[in-house]
């Protein structure tokens, strides 16, 4: 947005940086250059171009991943009741904010840079901030997965503390095992974009959280699970479309190198495998739900999309299209039965986060052993380490929160809804009249 003169200056930067005389776009160089100088200048310039290209690609993929944040917020809001939507959006804003701050200050260093905080001294083949930004949106994803599972009953304060610990410590600590060059990477564990490292970690931390906080009131009464329908399927549907699109940042961006034909062909293959798995997950979950409940079920179908996406995340670069379809379809089937199973176990997960991210995260990681040539034993070791570690970390953290700041709102607040109880405002106000605009509103009983 600078003036023309600034533009011209920055056009020159390239050449100054190369420390050579050069030709300006469409103009003959004033001075004759030696062949060697011209080649050296070209080499330097092309290195610059490739660097710029790699970073831009990474940043754009990161932006696509950032779309997953409203995606999760909408999915959660849609599958919860209308009295909790403000709380859900607050959690999703604050965990994204906290990830941006805590992962910047501490988490990124723990994961990739052994204790140099605030990105200090970090070296990368990318611009350090580009590398960080891409990793940061992953950390935010791992945290926000938990948000939906504990919706409708958790104190906002407890959730904030969890977000900080998750993005600042738990996720980075466990992420280091593989992506930081830690013990799992040394054993040859393969998890391309994080079926285990991001999704199983998020999903099993959610399981720990749910066990610590217990089900919503009225969810399991008289020994059976009762339906508590989400208030808005349109929001949930839009959310899953955004997640599906966001995954085109999540998986392809994880290639982490873009300027060669080999890398970019891999990226393109990852796009298609990711999409095939999502599509197969949708169709499989729809079909299974159709058989089980006699109608093609909406919330199961969109969970199937996500299950397929989580499933393919561990190895979208190393399997064939047909395998991608299989991985996605099996994930779609798993999601449905997993959701039913957790209901039987009286584990109340309103959005299916544990099934989608946790169980399908395990499946996806194992699938690379089955379809993608990774060592199945190591895959099992890795994914179980992540799942168990996240479960324990989640449970312990929330249990400590329970004993200290308190984990759960009162029953009256839960009935009233977290929006009014925790934030003093309702999500939806349908009537407004002059003078006293809110007089026609009625508070919960």
């Amino acid at each position: 947005m600078h003036t023309m003169s600034r533009r011209i200056v920055s056009s020159f930067t390239l050449f100054l940086a190369c420390s050579v005389f050069a030709v300006v776009l469409g103009q003959e160089a004033a001075v004759e250059l030696s062949t060697a100088d011209r080649i050296a200048a070209l080499e330097a310039q092309l290195t610059e171009t490739n660097f710029a290209f790699d970073n831009l690609a990474l940043l754009f993929f990161a932006v696509l991943v950032a779309f997953m944040q409203p995606g999760f917020a909408l999915l959660e809001a849609g599958l919860h009741s209308a009295k909790n939507v403000v709380n859900i959006f607050m959690k999703n804003f604050i965990d994204f904010a906290v990830a941006g701050l805590a992962f910047w200050a501490v988490g990124f260093s723990l994961m990739y840079n052994r204790g140099n905080f605030f990105l200090n001294g970090y070296e990368s083949s990318f611009a350090p901030t580009a590398d960080f930004f891409f990793q940061m949106v992953f950390a935010a994803t791992a945290a926000t997965i938990v948000s939906g599972a504990i919706g409708g009953r958790m104190k906002f304060t407890a959730y904030i503390i969890f977000s900080i610990v998750m993005t600042g410590f738990i996720y980075p600590y466990m992420g280091e095992w593989q992506w930081g060059g830690g013990w799992l990477s040394e054993r040859g564990f393969y998890d391309f974009a994080g079926s285990s490292i991001v999704h199983a970690v998020g999903g099993f931390a959610a399981l720990g959280a749910v066990l610590a906080i217990g089900p919503r009131l009225g969810r399991f009464t008289g020994g059976r699970a009762s339906a508590m329908p989400g208030h808005n399927m349109t929001l949930a549907g839009l959310g899953v479309f955004l997640l599906w699109i966001g995954w085109f940042g999540f998986n392809p961006g994880s290639q982490l190198a873009f300027s060669t034909s080999g890398d970019m062909t891999a990226v393109a293959n990852i796009f298609v495998n990711t999409n095939l798995a999502a599509a197969a997950g949708a169709v499989a979950a729809m079909s299974i739900s159709w058989m089980l409940f006699k109608k093609p079920d909406f919330s199961m179908t969109i969970n199937g999309v996500l299950g397929g996406l989580v499933g393919i995340t561990a190895g979208p670069d190393v399997i064939t299209g047909l395998s991608a379809i299989l991985v996605g379809a099996i994930a779609g089937v798993i999601v449905v039965f997993s959701v039913l199973m957790f209901d039987r176990l009286k584990v109340d997960d309103p959005v299916g986060a544990i099934s989608v991210h946790g169980i399908c995260g395990i499946w996806g990681t194992l699938a690379v052993g089955i379809f993608g040539g990774a060592n199945l034993g190591v895959q099992a070791l890795g994914t179980l380490s992540y799942s168990a570690g996240a479960f324990v970390a989640g449970f312990v953290l929330f249990y400590i929160l329970k004993l200290t700041v308190g984990l759960r709102v009162t029953a009256a607040e839960e009935v009233q809804g977290l929006d009014v109880a925790e934030h003093g405002i309702e999500g939806y106000t349908t009537t407004d009249y002059l003078g006293d605009p809110v007089v026609l509103k009625a508070a919960g009983d």
Partner: protein, 117 residues
């Protein structure tokens, strides 16, 4: 004066409205209600859990009329709201002690004659 309250199927509202206008009835207050009676519930599923919706959407009409309009009003509603299937609804008739028109402070029968805008 009587207050006639009719609970009808929402889909029948246009016909009932038409019939009432033909019978000379103009003043009507309606509200959305949910009804339970002989009609069976509807089974739905959410994330694998079955539930039965036992109430059906209905529309309730409240019509204050002077005596000579009572029978014509009831007749119009019964004719126009009738389908013959369970769930057609009910008409309740109650005595009104007093009616006041807020705009004019007119009372009773006077209060019940509508004026076109």
């Amino acid at each position: 004066m009587k207050l006639i309250t009719a609970i009808i199927r929402p889909t029948k509202l246009p016909a009932v409205k038409e019939a009432l206008f033909k019978a000379g009835v103009r003043g009507i207050t309606i509200s959305k209600v949910s009804g339970h009676g002989g009609q069976g519930g509807i089974v739905e599923h959410y994330r694998g859990n079955k539930f039965v919706v036992e109430f059906h959407e209905k529309v309730q009409l409240s019509i204050a009329v002077s005596e000579e309009f009572v029978q014509p009003t009831i007749d119009s509603i019964v004719e126009s709201a009738h389908t013959g299937s369970i769930g057609d609804g009910k008409i309740f008739v109650q005595t009104l002690d007093q009616v006041v028109r807020i705009r004019t402070k007119e009372q009773n029968a006077d209060a019940l004659t509508p004026v076109a805008a």
